[in-house]
Structure formats: C-alpha cells, structure tokens
C-alpha cells in the first residue's frame, strides 16, 4: 500500500446469505464479507449496527465455521431477551440484509498452528461456537490430532450443532464427543446428566491417548470458572488452559 492511499477502514459490509435455526434460542447467520479474509479456528469478529440517527452498537461474536469454508462466515447468535444486537438478528434480520463486520480478531483462543495435541475442548451452551470452528477445521483437514469435546447444555434440544457433532463422533477418527445435560437425563450411553466436575474431566481426558497439550474452555463466566477449576483439580496445569468468557 502506498503512503498516498487513504487507510482502508477495518470495517466492511457483509451480506447475510443464509439463516439456519439451530436451537430454540440460537440461530446461525451466514455472512459473505465484501472483502473475504482468512482466519483461524477460534477467532471472532466484531459486528456493528447503525441506527438512522447514527447510534451504533457493536458486539463480538465467535466464528462457528471452519476456516476452509470459502469465505462465508457462520455466526451462531443466541437471543438475549434484554439484549440490543441479538434481538435485531433474531427478530429483524433477513437474507440479503447487510451489516458491518470487522475481523478476524483475537490471537489467544485459537487452534495451534503446529497441529499439536491432544486437545481438550470444554464448552457450555453457546460457548461451543469457537470450539465448533476447531472441530470442523480438524475434520476439513482430515487431521488426526486427538480431540475430546465436553459439551454441556441444559437439555438435549439446546445442544447447538448436535447432529453434526454426533456424526463427527461416529467417524471414530480421533474426535471424541462427551455430552452432558444439566436438566435432563443423558441420551447416549457414555454421556452425563450433571454439571461439569472433576470425575467428568478425568474420564474425558482418559478418552485421549495422552494428556492434553492445550485445553480450551468457553462459556458463561460461571461455567468457565467451574470447568477451569475442575480441570486444575483433575491435574491439568493452569498454564495450558485457555479460557474465553461470555462476560455479559
């Protein structure tokens, strides 16, 4: 870029090309950015909405799609009743609408470059989203890195990406899915029906061929605090645990 050129705004328009309901409260929106960009599994984007009077609202959303998905970015957005941006997406946004988007962002909660592993992923509710990008990335690359995903939700129908995850689990290619429901009975033989705890972490890690190189934990603050502490109590070193908390 020559010095005479005006610096390009980090914001760009992105059109909604597809909308897919995932659970009663979570819907996926697929965006086609006007300037497609490469990203790494686990990264997020900022989305900005502008009202006619100039008022703007911005939020960060983790990317659910694999980096190999031809420039289209999937954001799985949970509707928060007292929210400002998520109700817009759930109640107003339609295919063909455009929003402003900035990314990719974040350099910590990301799939490692060197394919090191095994990896332990622990997600609560919509905290599964950046982990889904990692799981899909692994599948797209036919990577053999051993990965276990512990995914907690209240009930079976609130497990985002459930069918896709179970299909990946059924491939038995080194990806292991552990589901736990906090308000319903388990539906699969080796799953759980309780909050994440130390025995669950120990047993989930035992499904990996060795101790994890990195553990990624994502969800609400309460979930991440509990899960990270359970990992530490299960013998995982604090400095290999990377967390992302949905603070609000």
């Amino acid at each position: 870029m020559s010095d005479a050129q005006a610096p390009q705004s980090p914001w760009q328009t992105a059109g909604i090309v597809r909308i897919e309901k995932r659970t009663p409260r979570v819907t996926s929106f697929f965006f086609q950015p006007s300037r497609p960009f490469a990203y790494r599994a686990g990264q997020h984007v900022d989305v900005r909405l502008t009202a006619p009077d100039g008022y703007q609202a911005r939020r960060s959303y983790s990317i659910a799609s694999a980096p190999e998905t031809d420039g289209v970015i999937e954001l799985a957005i949970e509707k928060l009743d007292d929210g400002e941006v998520s109700p817009f997406f759930h109640d107003v946004a339609a295919v063909g609408d455009e929003v402003e988007l900035r990314g990719p962002l974040g350099g910590h909660f990301i799939w490692p470059h060197d394919d090191s592993g095994p990896l332990l992923l622990v997600g609560g509710g919509s905290g599964v989203v950046p982990l889904m990008s990692m799981v899909r990335h692994r599948a797209k690359r036919n990577s053999m890195v051993p990965v276990a995903l512990v995914f907690s939700a209240r009930v079976w129908d609130e497990l985002i990406f459930r069918d896709e995850l179970i299909a990946l689990d059924d491939r038995k290619d080194g990806f292991d899915l552990v589901l736990t429901l906090t308000r319903e009975a388990a539906r699969r033989p080796a799953d759980y029906s309780r909050r994440v705890d130390v025995p669950m972490m120990v047993q989930s890690m035992a499904r990996l061929p060795g101790p994890p190189d990195i553990a990624f934990v994502c969800g609400s603050n309460a979930f991440v605090s509990a899960a990270a502490q359970a990992l530490i109590d299960a013998g995982v070193a604090a400095d290999i645990i990377r967390t992302e908390r949905y603070g609000v």
Partner: protein, 203 residues
C-alpha cells in the same frame, strides 16, 4: 451505513452520554474476562516487586504493602468488549506512593505490569503517575475477589480495562514500549477508549 430495521436499543441515559466512549454501551453488572483460569493467590504468598529491567528495586510483602498510604478512587471503566461501567469505587495504593516509598523517580518512560498467572501489559509511566493509577486492594469497600483480580490488581481507568492487570505481582520499568500479552495478540499498544484504540492498527 444504516442497518435496515435497527432502530434503537440500550441507549445511554441522556445525562451519561458524554461519559460513554464511542462504540461502548452502559453495563450495570461487572462482567469477568480473562485469558485463563482464576489464580487463587493467598496473601501470605503475595508480594509486589518493582523492577528496572531485570533488576529488582524494591519488594513488598502483603503487610508491608498494606502499610502504604491508601487512596480512594471512583471511576468509570471501559472494557474493550464494549461495556462501560460508571462510578466503580476502588481503594488502593497510588503508583505515586509506591515510587515514593521506593525512593525513586521513574528511570524510564515505559512499564510492563506483571501478574501471578504470567499475564503482562504495557503502560507508559505518564499514565500511571500524577494520581492516574493505583494498585487496587478493595472494591466497594471489600477485598477484591479472585474473579476480579484480587488480592491486588492494577487500576488504570482511563485506558481499556485489559490494561488494569489482575493478580498483579510487579511493575517493571522497560527501556522501550514493550507489548504485553494482549498487545502481542492483536490488541492496541496503548488502548485509549476515547480514540477507540481497540485493535493493533487502530489509529
């Protein structure tokens, strides 16, 4: 670009408009964000070290540090994840008072704040002195909880809140402005919320 169908939302109260930096919204709660698990630092094991490069200048244990002058500071804080919280009440030791107790003038223009969990963040010394910043020990009159960075955290309220390092255990003078943890991972080297310096190449 106006977004079709986006009308309003969580507007700031009219009298608070001028206190909310661009792109931020008002939050009543106090969200918790961090890159890793919450360390549980016992005050018996706590210490704070002032350094110039690799050389320690002075080290305080918990009792020694608590004997330094305590100052109250009530400030608005701004997180890069877009929430702003008004009037957060803190109490702690001003950086000015730490330097005075160590008997030094700042030897360089830059610092790195260090934490028990390995976190670090860079702040120019001019943003820490003249009453601008403290090592906070109390929030709302009570010891700061581990979630919010207790026993002690840096408080630099005029910069984005990732600069206010949790679980603080030291301040190091550096010859150059050296990026810390988030500054090496895509976030702005300075982080002024009023100029919206969120990410690396923001002006």
């Amino acid at each position: 670009m106006v977004t079709r169908g986006f009308l309003s939302g969580r507007r700031p109260p009219t009298d608070g408009d001028a206190r909310i930096p661009p792109g931020q919204y008002l939050e009543q709660g106090f969200p918790v964000l961090s890159a890793g698990p919450t360390p549980r630092v016992r005050t018996e094991e706590w210490s704070f070290t002032l350094k110039h490069g690799p050389r320690p200048i002075k080290k305080w244990n918990w009792a020694e540090f608590n004997a330094l002058p305590l100052t109250k500071m009530t400030r608005d804080i701004h997180c890069v994840t877009a929430w702003t919280k008004f009037d957060t009440p803190w109490q702690g030791v001003l950086i000015d008072d730490i330097l005075a107790d160590a008997g030094i003038e700042p030897p360089t223009a830059f610092t790195l704040a260090h934490s028990f969990d390995g976190y670090s963040t860079n702040v120019p010394i001019k943003d820490l002195t003249a009453g601008k910043a403290m090592v906070a020990l109390f929030y709302e009159g009570k010891p700061i909880t581990p979630d919010h960075g207790g026993p002690a955290r840096l408080l630099v309220p005029h910069l984005y809140f990732w600069k206010s390092a949790k679980w603080l255990n030291g301040l190091q003078f550096t010859e150059r402005d050296e990026p810390g943890f988030w500054e090496l991972r895509g976030y702005h080297i300075y982080g002024d919320p009023w100029r919206e310096q969120r990410y690396t190449n923001d002006p």
